[in-house]
């Protein structure tokens, strides 16, 4: 398995004493020589990237840099022109992963109850009804679900629907969870709530998460690392470690360290936009 340390990527100045993420964990997802062209433009050319195991990486960058395209290619939703994407050395088809769509309304199955939606990835793996139920209950308690899972999606609020989508993605105990702008269709209250639940689940399971975001504060808040992309042809502009300890709370947002990291990300982002 090829492993390229990302030490060569310049680290942004972070306050000394923040030692949590200093030892970079080993790579979980390795991308080598990824090339993707659309009709008129080249989005990715010979693109290399390592995504760390057991960390939340958020993907952020200028419009049209292919944030979603990147995770869609990693998750196999979009074909790649050339290159290699490996998960701990394994191909995508040999691993279990979850994917949360931006548009929960179009991603859930409205003809199934919420609990059947959540159990669906298990059902297609041939898991028995009883085991499915047990898993759904387990997820419901770790998400502290306060609504009836026997309802159908169209009877749930947007936030509840997105919660069901996330639970569905987590049901088969995936190694990697992809989330494509999971909060962008939610109101602020629900965004905060789901962000917290996601963090709790992450702290409990340590599952590798790749989150596309279009909101810098949100990207920094949930991340262990913010992956900043450039304008196309897309390269890694910088990988910024986010050091504040978890669980992060409302106070984290005003923490000087957090503010400094966010400012640093913004600076890099602006530099890339103007480039």
């Amino acid at each position: 398995m090829s492993f390229v340390s990302q030490a060569q990527i310049t680290s942004p100045p972070v306050e000394p004493g923040a030692t949590v993420n200093q030892a970079r964990p080993r790579s979980h997802i390795t991308i080598r020589g990824l090339t993707k062209r659309f009709a008129r433009k080249t989005l990715y050319e010979n693109f290399d990237l390592d995504l760390p195991k057991g960390r939340i990486t958020t993907v952020f960058g200028p419009n049209g840099c292919g944030k979603s395209t990147l995770i869609n290619m990693i998750a196999g939703l979009l074909p790649i022109d050339s290159g290699q994407i490996l998960f701990d050395g394994k191909e995508l088809r040999d691993i279990t992963f979850g994917y949360v769509f931006q548009n929960y309304r179009e991603a859930l199955f409205p003809w199934m109850r919420a609990r059947d939606n959540i159990a669906y990835p298990l059902r297609i793996r041939g898991v028995s009804k009883a085991e499915c139920n047990a898993r759904v209950e387990e997820l419901a308690s770790s998400f502290e679900i306060g609504f009836d899972l026997n309802l159908r999606p169209f009877n749930l609020s947007g936030g509840q629907q997105q919660l069901v989508s996330i639970m569905r993605a987590l049901a088969p105990n995936p190694e990697v969870l992809f989330l494509d702008e999971p909060f962008s269709a939610l109101d602020y209250e629900m965004t905060l709530f789901i962000r917290d639940r996601l963090q709790a689940i992450f702290m409990e399971t340590g599952i590798t998460m790749i989150v596309v975001s279009h909101d810098l504060e949100e990207a920094v808040f949930i991340a262990d690392e913010v992956l900043l992309l450039s304008k196309p042809p897309t390269r890694v502009a910088e990988v910024v470690p986010v050091t504040p300890l978890r669980p992060r709370t409302d106070h984290t947002v005003s923490d000087p360290e957090f503010v400094a990291i966010k400012a640093e990300c913004l600076r890099i982002f602006q530099r890339e936009v103007r480039r």
Partner: protein, 280 residues
């Protein structure tokens, strides 16, 4: 004292209690009918025009019997005559034709919709025959099935089948891509995507097709009963009444046909509401 004492009133006064009760009743009728009052305006209006036209003999009474006579005829034919058996015959044929159309149309349509290539190859044929009036096929079906209700059912089934098939295919083609992608990304096989997602995604469109299909089946059955040898059915009944100039009977049978068409439509909307609840 300037104020004259009120003389004890012996004059009869409408009792307050009863007045209040009437007012209450009026209010309740008002509330109760509020939801459908507007809907019965049209029928009342039609009835009034019909009644005036018939009674003032604006149209020859030979051509237009009054509404009361017609409704009375409908009652008599239903209770004492054989209208019900004709009604049942027509309904049965329509349902047979529709059943055949649904049983073949939905699966074939969904399969066609699932594969762009196959759909592309037959799109022209489906569209062509869908656009060909089914009645133009009467002689052909008579040759194939002989005179009798088999030919009627076959031609109606053929007409409805194309509509159902096209709608189902269309529903699958326009299925929400995200849901199919979601199922695939969870590891669902092609077959599971087909049976767990595509079928359901196509349901709303399929129901549009089924509703159009059953209306079309009824139309074709009625026309077939009129013109391709039949001894029973509402179509036969209408044309028989017309032949002997029994216009009351003719209008009554037309109304009975309308009742059937409308009821079928209502039934389908009710079923549709229950099955595809997510789009309502």
């Amino acid at each position: 004292m300037s104020v004259s004492p009120r003389p004890p009133s012996y004059a009869w006064k409408f009792p307050d209690k009863i007045a209040a009760a009437f007012s209450q009743l009026g209010h309740q009728v008002d509330v109760y009918t509020a939801s459908f009052r507007i809907y019965i305006l049209g029928p009342i209006f039609l009835y009034a025009i019909w009644w005036v036209t018939a009674n003032a003999e604006l149209v020859s009474p030979r051509l237009l019997p009054g509404p009361n006579e017609t409704l009375h005829q409908l009652w008599v034919s239903t209770v004492h005559g054989d209208l019900l058996s004709d009604f049942w015959n027509t309904l049965q044929r329509t349902l047979y034709a529709f059943g055949i159309a649904a049983a073949f149309g939905i699966p074939i349509g969904v399969m066609l919709g699932a594969s762009r290539k196959i759909y592309g190859s037959v799109e022209f044929l489906v569209d062509f025959f869908r656009s060909t009036p089914a009645t133009a096929m009467f002689p052909l079906f008579l040759l194939l099935f002989g005179i009798g209700q088999e030919a009627q059912i076959a031609v109606a089934a053929f007409a409805a089948l194309l509509v159902v098939l096209f709608s189902s295919a269309y529903g699958v083609i326009n299925a929400t891509k995200t849901r199919i992608l979601a199922a695939r990304v969870m590891g669902a096989s092609r077959w599971r995507v087909f049976k767990d997602v595509m079928i359901f995604e196509s349901l709303p469109q399929t129901f549009v097709g089924l509703r159009t299909g059953i209306s079309l089946a009824l139309v074709v059955i009625i026309v077939a009963e009129m013109f391709i040898g039949s001894s029973s059915g509402l179509g036969r009944r209408i044309i028989d009444a017309q032949q002997v100039y029994n216009l009351r009977e003719m209008y009554a049978s037309i109304i009975a046909t309308g009742v059937m068409g409308y009821s079928l439509n209502l039934l389908f909307i009710a079923v549709e509401r229950r099955v595809v609840r997510w789009i309502h």
